[in-house]
């Protein structure tokens, strides 16, 4: 069994294909709800990739947070607010054509950069989790090595949450 066609490889390509398909669908759908669903597909695909790479905790967290919460939030926002359910088809203009060319060039550039980079080769025989389960390893890392940044991020998020509530709240003077 050549390493190129191991089961992992096949799974990787299948998942990538799924993600790409969902991404393309997201862009090409005209109905907003469909778009939201396609985004959900992308999230789930990413989660599958994480799990494939052995990061099951991150993968599942991805499902919980993105596919579960965020997509539902988007759906809620779509269903509860008033807007056009479908986007009108836009005509193909010179500007859009130029943008497409730009995107293509960007893609090519990125490809070259990635190919040209000498990535550090991990040693598959070394267990990055040091014998612990994936979840345990993440916990150890978060609460031992990166304690301060972790708490800072929590603080930042709390501040953001409070800020969002205050912004969304009606000012008393308005009534």
């Amino acid at each position: 069994m050549s390493p190129l066609w191991s089961a992992q490889m096949i799974a990787f390509f299948l998942i990538s294909l799924f993600i790409l398909a969902c991404a393309v669908m997201m862009l090409s759908f005209r109905k907003v709800v469909y778009m939201a669903l396609a985004v959900g597909g992308v999230f789930i695909g990413c989660a599958a990739l994480y799990i494939l790479l052995g990061a099951e905790f991150v993968g599942i967290a991805q499902v919980v947070v993105y596919a579960g919460a965020i997509t539902i939030l988007i759906l809620f926002a779509i269903m509860l607010t008033n807007h056009e359910a479908t986007e009108p088809e836009e005509p193909w203009t010179v500007r859009k054509a130029l943008a497409a060319v730009g995107c293509f060039l960007l893609g090519v550039t990125l490809l070259f950069v990635i190919r040209g980079q000498a990535w550090p080769q991990g040693d598959p025989s070394v267990d990055v989790n040091q014998g612990m389960s994936n979840t345990l390893a993440i916990g150890e890392a978060l609460f031992k090595s990166y304690m301060i940044p972790f708490e800072l991020v929590s603080l930042l998020l709390t501040v953001a949450l409070v800020g969002a509530v205050i912004l969304a709240q009606q000012r008393k003077g308005d009534q």
């Binding site: 509860l80 607010t81 008033n82 308005d174 009534q175």
Partner: protein, 370 residues
């Protein structure tokens, strides 16, 4: 308020019924809601209209009795009595003692049966499944007793002008006697099962409140009026039949909310049992049908008398021109009157209270539409 600052919501028209699991028959309610708040509600009635009042103009008085069965089909005995009572008042006939007692017994049993159904159906509206079927078990016993005494389970046609159609069959009174302690025990069970339940309390306490003035202004009667604290029961205020011989209480509410309306049903059943118990003890023997002419001709004039029905004052207004058929018959239908308050009650309420309020108003569509 600035339009841009708030989430813009549309007013939505929601059709509740006529075929909806909880409208207690074919009743349609058009609810205008904004978000969760009810802006307006409009009851649409008439799906069960049969023109009873008009039909009655072509019927002899005895023939009208079966039609009254079909008004409030959950309390047919009371309707029977209301009509017979009015005609008897007009004729001034003497009713045999035994007939009076039998009437009181069946009427109070009927009240219990009707209240039981209210409690079951109300809890069903609120999502509890058990009480509905428990209530039907007791109701079934009452209905079976009625079946034995008059041969029908729902449309009794039992009362006649001047008395009742049949005497109680042998052993029937004993059955009723046995039923009383059983029912008392079951009432205690309902108290345990429902009254203490926190979820139930949270749904009905303080919901659909109104005060005595509003109730009187809308002409409410029965439990819908007594829940506001006014002690108004025709059995006491304008004693008819032989109700003045019995010792019973008129339970009244304090807050006029859905909980009071529910609880009064429970308490009234207790009082009704008391009346039945006393009636069974006192019942004399004798004939059950008084001396009335074969063809009843009500002397010309206008007559009205109302009795305390299961849902409020049910009254028959008869205009007679001296013939054997009424010139005009008008029925005061308690459900119909009580329904008037519904839009007023619902306005401004949350959508989630709709069912709690609608259920507690306790309407029977057969009566509303007549």
């Amino acid at each position: 308020m600035d339009e841009r600052d708030v989430v813009r919501t549309e007013e939505m028209l929601l059709n509740v019924g006529p075929q909806h699991p909880s409208t207690h028959g074919v009743f349609r309610l058009i609810v205008k809601i904004s978000g969760e708040t009810i802006l307006d509600a409009e009851p649409v009635i008439g799906y069960l209209h049969r023109g009873t009042e008009k039909l009655a103009e072509n019927l002899q008085y005895t023939q009208i009795i079966p039609y009254t069965d079909r008004l409030d089909y959950l309390a047919a005995m009371l309707n029977n009595y209301a009509l017979c009572h009015t005609v008897e008042q007009a004729l001034g006939v003497e009713i045999p003692e035994r007939a009076e007692y039998l009437r009181v017994i069946v009427m109070e049993l009927q009240r219990i049966a009707s209240h039981l159904l209210f409690i079951g159906a109300y809890l069903m509206d609120l999502g509890a499944m058990g009480p509905f079927l428990y209530a039907f078990q007791e109701r079934e016993r009452i209905v079976q007793m009625f079946n034995e005494i008059c041969g029908a389970r729902l449309t009794y046609n039992y009362m006649r002008i001047g008395g009742v159609r049949w005497d109680a069959p042998p052993g029937w009174l004993d059955q009723v006697r046995e039923f009383i302690p059983y029912m008392r025990e079951r009432l205690k069970m309902y108290d345990d099962l429902i009254t203490g339940n926190e979820i139930f309390l949270n749904r009905v306490r303080g919901v659909g409140k109104y005060d005595t003035e509003t109730a009187l202004a809308y002409g409410l009667s029965g439990i819908n009026l007594r829940c506001t604290g006014l002690e108004w029961d025709l059995r006491r205020k304008k004693p008819y039949s032989i109700y003045d011989r019995f010792d019973f209480e008129i339970p009244v509410g304090k807050n006029g909310d859905c909980f009071d309306r529910y609880y009064l049903h429970l308490l009234e059943m207790r009082e009704s049992l008391k009346i039945v118990e006393q009636a069974i003890e006192q019942i004399p023997s004798g004939p059950v049908l008084g001396k009335v002419p074969k063809l009843i001709r009500v002397p010309a004039g206008e007559y009205y008398s109302g009795i305390e029905g299961a849902r409020g004052e049910i009254g028959f207004y008869i205009v007679s021109d001296g013939k054997d058929k009424p010139y005009r018959l008008k029925i005061r239908k308690p459900s119909f009157v009580n329904l008037q308050l519904l839009p007023e009650l619902l306005r401004g309420e949350s959508m989630s209270n709709l069912l709690a309020i609608l259920g507690a108003v306790d309407i029977v569509l057969g009566e509303v539409d007549a």
